[in-house]
């Protein structure tokens, strides 16, 4: 048996802003190796100037999303063996976001959309009030449960055709977040939120391509949440509740 390690060719996007090119590195293949392991190997052993972003390494923080062989993925939970194609790996920054440097994108536009979609809880009670009792079996809470586990990784935003075509579009994650709040019986600003997501670039801009659902690393279905918002805003509009 040979001690020689199996090497793979890894092309990594290098550059700042819109300018850049792919640079190829030879990286040893290991058992249970993730794409994030590959990037970390390159930075620690081959080129310390490589910029990328990660934090938890276990699929919780949503920091390490990148484009791997053309598809947006969470790199810390993506095994190389599952995505390598003909012994090659191509790693680029997430699409639909400005690149800061190399594999690190500026997530500001992504989170600004959350603000625009009123993805922030608006309290309807004070600390003097009793704690709200929410039954896990209530229909509203079940809808929230189905959509709440978003880790803000931006994979859906990068996978979405409508985000690419329409710079005003709020995107799957922000609208999914808005949907969880629309179904939160404690929230006090549903009228404002429905109004915010019913404007140009809101939920009605979605083409239901379902790329968000296809790529979401935690198995959420933002398309279903957006469909819920479409229904809810339409009902509110017909009732004259959208000021």
């Amino acid at each position: 048996m040979s001690d020689a390690e199996t090497m793979i060719d890894v092309s990594i996007w290098r550059g700042e802003g819109d300018e850049g090119r792919y640079e190829t590195f030879k990286v040893p293949l290991r058992e249970s190796q993730t794409v994030l392991d590959i990037v970390t190997y390159v930075q620690r052993n081959l080129d310390p100037t490589l910029s990328y972003r990660f934090a938890c390494r276990v699929g919780v923080c949503g920091s390490c999303a990148m484009t791997v062989n053309g598809r947006p993925r969470w790199t810390c939970r993506t095994h190389v063996s599952k995505v390598v194609e003909s012994g090659k790996l191509e790693i680029a920054p997430l699409a639909n976001l400005p690149v800061i440097r190399d594999l690190a994108t500026d997530m500001a536009p992504f989170f600004e959309k959350w603000q625009e979609a009123k993805g922030v809880f608006a309290p309807s009670q004070t600390r003097a009030d009793a704690l709200a009792e929410i039954s896990p079996q209530s229909p509203e809470r079940k809808l929230v449960d189905a959509a709440i586990e978003c880790i803000n990784c931006g994979v859906c935003f990068a996978a979405c055709d409508t985000v690419r075509w329409n710079e005003d579009y709020l995107g799957p994650a922000a609208l999914n977040r808005a949907w969880t709040l629309v179904n939160d019986v404690r929230d006090g600003d549903n009228a404002g939120r429905l109004f915010a997501v019913a404007q140009n670039g809101g939920c009605h801009a979605c083409h239901t391509h379902q790329s968000c659902e296809q790529h979401c690393p935690v198995g959420l279905n933002p398309t279903a949440s957006i469909a819920g918002l479409k229904r809810r805003t339409m009902q509110a509009y017909i009732r004259g509740e959208l000021a």
């Binding site: 075509w165 809101g202 339409m234 509009y237």
Partner: protein, 109 residues
């Protein structure tokens, strides 16, 4: 796309589904029965029913199509703001004008 345009496009689609089926049935009937232009005009001239049916169809198609064109123009041609709304209205009005002219021709003359 916003809730107003979305609702207008969906509502017109809903209206057009049975109308398209009716329109196809009429085409099949007219061709299978070998109706001539004169036969057809004989039935449509002065008919309030046909006038209403096809006028509603034309208006629904104009609204539906104009909103669709607006979406394509924005996403594929990058047109925004006032130009986008102008394009939508212009397309819809031209479509409605052409269609209503045809309805006028077969119903009134």
């Amino acid at each position: 796309m916003n809730v107003r345009l979305y609702l207008a496009q969906r509502a017109t689609a809903l209206l057009m589904v049975p109308m398209i089926l009716g329109h196809l049935a009429i085409i099949f009937y007219a061709t299978r029965k070998g109706l001539t232009a004169a036969d057809i005009l004989g039935r449509t001239r002065g008919s309030v029913g046909w006038a209403l049916y096809y006028a509603a169809f034309v208006v629904a198609a104009s609204v539906h199509g104009a909103i669709g064109i607006r979406g394509i123009a924005m996403e594929w041609a990058g047109i925004r703001g006032r130009s986008l709304d102008l394009l939508m209205w212009a397309f819809g009005l031209v479509l409605a004008l052409l269609g209503l002219r045809a309805v006028y021709a077969v119903v009134i003359g």
